[in-house]
Each structure stands twice: as C-alpha cells, then as structure tokens.
C-alpha cells in the first residue's frame, strides 16, 4: 500500500521530460490567444464576427460548455460521499479539479464576450438593484457560490494528502506543501469528514441551480425562437451531466495511461461512468426530439422557422453531423458495451466520450447562433473571425495548462492514509 501511495504522489514528486514541451505548446497557444484578445480590446468587438443581430457567438457557447463540464466533478465526488460509491473514489479529485478549472474558464468566457470588460464590476456594484430582475445576476450568484464551495470541497479533504506529500518530500517541495496546510493539526480528519459531508449535501442543489440559472438567461427571453422553454433547466442539466462525466472519462483515461495507474483507476469504473453517460445522452436525445417536434409541428412561426433551419436548412449539416457522430454513435457504443457482461474498452470509451464532449460544444453553438441569426431574418450572417478562433483555441489551451500545472500541486487521487498507517 505504501508503494501505492508513492505511485499516487508521483506526479507531485517527479516531472517527466515530456511535461515541459507539452506545457510550452499550451503556453504558446495561450499567448497567441492573448494577442488576439488584445486586438479585440484595442479595436472592439467589431473584429469578431459578432454584430448587432448576432450578439452572442462562440464565447457564450464556451460559457455554457464550461459551466456544463463543471457539473461532473461534484456529481461524482458527492456520489462517492453521499451514496457510498467508493469505487469512484480514485477519480473523485480528478473530477473536482476539472470543476474548478471549468468554472474559472466559464467566468473568463463572459468577460471575453464583453465589449467593455472594464464594466464587469457593475455585476457586483449594481447587484442590489438588479438581482430582483436579472437572470444574469442570478447566474453570477450561483456560479460564485458554486466556485467558493467547490474550492472548499477540494481543499479541505486534500489537507491530509498534502501532509503525507510533505512528509515524503524534501527541499522546496516540502516547504511549499507546508505552506498549503496552515493550522494543520493531528486528528483534524474527523471534523473535516463531517464538513465535507455537509459540503457535498450543500453543493448538489447549488450545482443544479447553476445550470438552471444559465438556462434561464436564454429561456426567459420570450422573443427568441427555441429559447423560451419551460423545461430549459432540466434540458441544460442533462447536457451538463453527460458532457461533464464524458470529460472526466477522457481525463481519467489520459492520466491513467501517463502515470500507469491501470490498477488504481480500474476499467470497471469506466464501465459505470459509461453506462451513466449513455443513459443521460439518451434522455438528452429524447428531450432534443421533443423540442424539435413541438417547434416543427405546432410552434409559432419563428420557432418552426428556426427548427426548420436546424434540421433541413443552413445549419442542417452541422446539426446532423453533431447528432449522429457526436451523440448517437457514442450512445450506441456505450449501450452495446453496457450489454456485454464484464467488458469495457477504456481507450474506445474515452474516444467516444471525447466525441460526446465535442458534440456538446457544438450543441451549445447551435443553441445560440441559429436563434440569433435567423431569429432576425439574416441567415448565415455570423461566422467567427480568426480573432475568435484564436481566443477559442486559447480557451481550451488555458484549462489544459491550468490542469497540467495543478497536477504538480494537487494529489490527483485521494490517499487511503488510514489504511497505510
């Protein structure tokens, strides 16, 4: 078991040669996006494909996407604590870390989308006068609460693992780890376990409200076709859970391979997550069908028109490729796998999960762009510029960079310290 602890702490203690070029590539990509954003700041949103009609584009798609991804961490981690699903414990922290990185990126996506980001502070200074009326303010409230609680949920139980890491390291690492656990006292674990339990209980409803309020930003705009929708909250939450858990599977498969944790992150665990993802994807496909059928069959003309464009018009190619390749095929693969007794292919499951994640990004794009561009009668007027493409690329490089760097500070797997003693 001690050997296992060393293996789990290996990312903190050793850095491979491949780490530096990987970080350099991500850093370079991010630097290019910073240059693109600087251009956007200098010359305004006119350098993007956005305009007076299509006021939201890839940045807001990114915002919804990252909020969605952030659901996975807490869903998995809370399940471990509240439902005693201990077999998922090895990936709980991997998922929690993903939550925090995604939430940071979601917040940044909003700031990037602002034409005058220097006015972002108005969200706070004008809070009292706006929270009665603005779904955006409700969302900021939910996201801020979720971020604070998630970081707390990550940090408190991690203290004991950092303590172990400190005891097993020397030099600057030991000093760094010591600084990360101020006020540490022997036997604090019992109190922290209790707090973590209540944190898990608390975070779940907040998590639901985060994506519900995101959905309300759109669904309370009654004049926008396909947005005004009573079941938008559950619809968004299902997408969030499916894409979030799929993301966790991708990351878990990668770290499992890199650190040779095949015996710690067992295939069985992927099987459970894959089954759950298949189920949520099916529910999502069902909801999507219900939405489109209602709009096409008896929707007001605007709804029917946008729906027609989704399914058979200018967005049809994107819609059908996204639905078939990104949703149906991964769902079928996961379904077939679920029916095969004791069988799971981690590589293929991760690949299918990646396809799901990509599809869900495009689905968020589809929510925004057709409604805005067609809703005011100018089909196809939005097409992202290189500035948006560069910023978009950077917005994927940055979370990867953050995550990679954090693996050097955060023990990725919760240690079974008590059993080791």
């Amino acid at each position: 078991m001690t050997d296992n602890v060393d293996r789990m702490l290996r990312p903190l203690m050793h850095t491979s040669r491949e780490f530096y070029p990987f970080v350099a590539i991500l850093g370079l990509t991010f630097a290019v996006s910073v240059y693109a954003y600087q251009q956007q700041l200098m010359y305004g949103l006119g350098v993007t494909g956005l305009n007076d009609v299509t006021i939201w584009g890839v940045y807001i798609a990114n915002f919804i996407f990252f909020i969605g991804i952030s659901h996975a961490g807490i869903a998995i981690s809370a399940a471990v604590r509240l439902l005693n699903a201990h077999r998922y414990k090895p990936i709980a922290r991997i998922a929690e870390l993903l939550t925090i990185v995604s939430l940071i990126m979601a917040g940044m996506s909003i700031v990037i989308d602002l034409g005058r980001p220097d006015r972002a502070m108005l969200l706070i200074t004008e809070y009292a006068s706006r929270f009665m009326y603005s779904p955006l303010i409700w969302d900021i409230t939910a996201v801020a609460t979720y971020l604070v609680l998630s970081t707390t949920y990550l940090y408190l139980p991690m203290r004991r693992d950092i303590k172990v890491a400190m005891e097993r390291s020397t030099g600057w690492r030991a000093s760094l780890f010591k600084r990360l656990i101020p006020l540490y006292e022997e036997g604090e674990e019992a109190t922290i376990d209790r707090l973590s339990f209540w944190l898990a209980v608390t975070i779940l409803p907040v998590m639901v409200m985060v994506h519900t309020t995101v959905a309300w930003i759109f669904s309370l705009l009654s004049s926008r076709p396909l947005w005004f929708n009573a079941f938008a909250g559950p619809y968004y939450i299902v997408a969030a859970v499916a894409s979030g858990i799929a993301s966790v599977m991708v990351i878990a498969a990668v770290v499992r391979r890199i650190y040779h944790w095949e015996d710690i992150i067992k295939p069985d665990l992927f099987r459970g997550l894959s089954n759950f993802t298949a189920m949520t994807t099916l529910v999502y496909l069902y909801m999507m069908m219900a939405e489109q059928l209602a709009a096409l069959f008896a929707g007001p003309s605007g709804e029917a028109f946008v729906s027609e464009e989704w399914l058979f018009g200018s967005f049809a190619a994107l819609f059908w490729v996204m639905t078939t390749l990104g949703l149906v095929i991964p769902f079928l693969y996961m379904l077939v796998q679920a029916f095969r007794k004791d069988y799971v292919n981690v590589g293929w499951t991760a690949a299918m999960s990646l396809m799901l994640v990509i599809a869900f990004w495009f689905k968020r794009y589809m929510i925004i762009v057709p409604t805005l561009s067609i809703g005011v009668q100018q089909v196809g007027i939005y097409s992202p510029t290189w500035i948006e493409a560069a910023i978009l690329l950077g917005s994927f490089a940055l979370p990867l960079l953050l995550y990679t760097v954090l693996t050097k500070v955060v023990p990725l797997i919760e240690l079974e310290v008590k059993h080791d003693a």
């Binding site: 700041l41 200098m42 917040g107 700031v111 005058r116 980001p117 220097d118 006015r119 972002a120 502070m121 969200l123 706070i124 929270f131 009665m132 009326y133 603005s134 303010i137 409700w138 409230t141 939910a142 801020a144 609460t145 971020l147 604070v148 609680l149 970081t151 707390t152 940090y155 408190l156 101020p182 006020l183 006292e185 604090e188 019992a190 109190t191 922290i192 209790r194 707090l195 209540w198 944190l199 209980v201 608390t202 975070i203 409803p205 907040v206 409200m209 309020t213 009654s222 004049s223 007001p300 003309s301 605007g302 028109f305 809703g375 005011v376 009668q377």
Partner: protein, 89 residues
C-alpha cells in the same frame, strides 16, 4: 416574395413579442426567491459547520476563513479584471 413576407412577419412578431412581454408582470419577488433557493443550502452548511460534532474551533475557523477568502478572491478578481482591462479604454 414568399420568403420576404415570412421575414417581415417574423420581424414584426419579434418586435411585438419583445414589447408585449414585460418582465415579471405580476410583480412577484422572483429574484428574491431564486437567490434564496441558491443560498439556502449555504445557510444549512454554515449551521452544520458551527453546530455539528465532532467540532474543532481551529478547523471551523479555517473553514470559515477559507470560504471568506475564496469569496473575496472572486469579487477581487472581477474588480481586478475590470481595472486591468480598463487600461484599454
């Protein structure tokens, strides 16, 4: 011609819908309810942290301190970004 008529009809519908739909026409305190629902679990958490057992004043203080610092970091980050990006205007 048919397409043009559809576009015009949609434009009128869009404007009419925007004009007709008032936000919260019955004046219910919906914002208060939503924010209340979001923050209610936090109140439960704080009570559990303060009153539950086993309890350690040091860890409770650390927990409260961490929550406050994180909240401050969020608000601080919004202000910092606003000032930083304000350089460009």
């Amino acid at each position: 011609m048919h397409e043009a008529l559809v576009y015009i009809a949609l434009a009128i519908q869009s404007v009419a819908s925007a004009l007709e739909s008032t936000v919260n026409p019955l004046g219910r305190p919906l914002g208060l309810i939503v924010v209340g629902i979001i923050e209610a679990p936090v109140v439960v958490l704080l009570l559990a942290a303060l009153l539950g057992k086993p309890r350690s004043p040091k860890i409770t203080a650390l927990f409260m301190g961490w929550v406050l610092v994180m909240f401050g970091a969020f608000v601080g980050a919004v202000f910092f970004l606003s000032y930083l990006l304000g350089i460009f205007y």
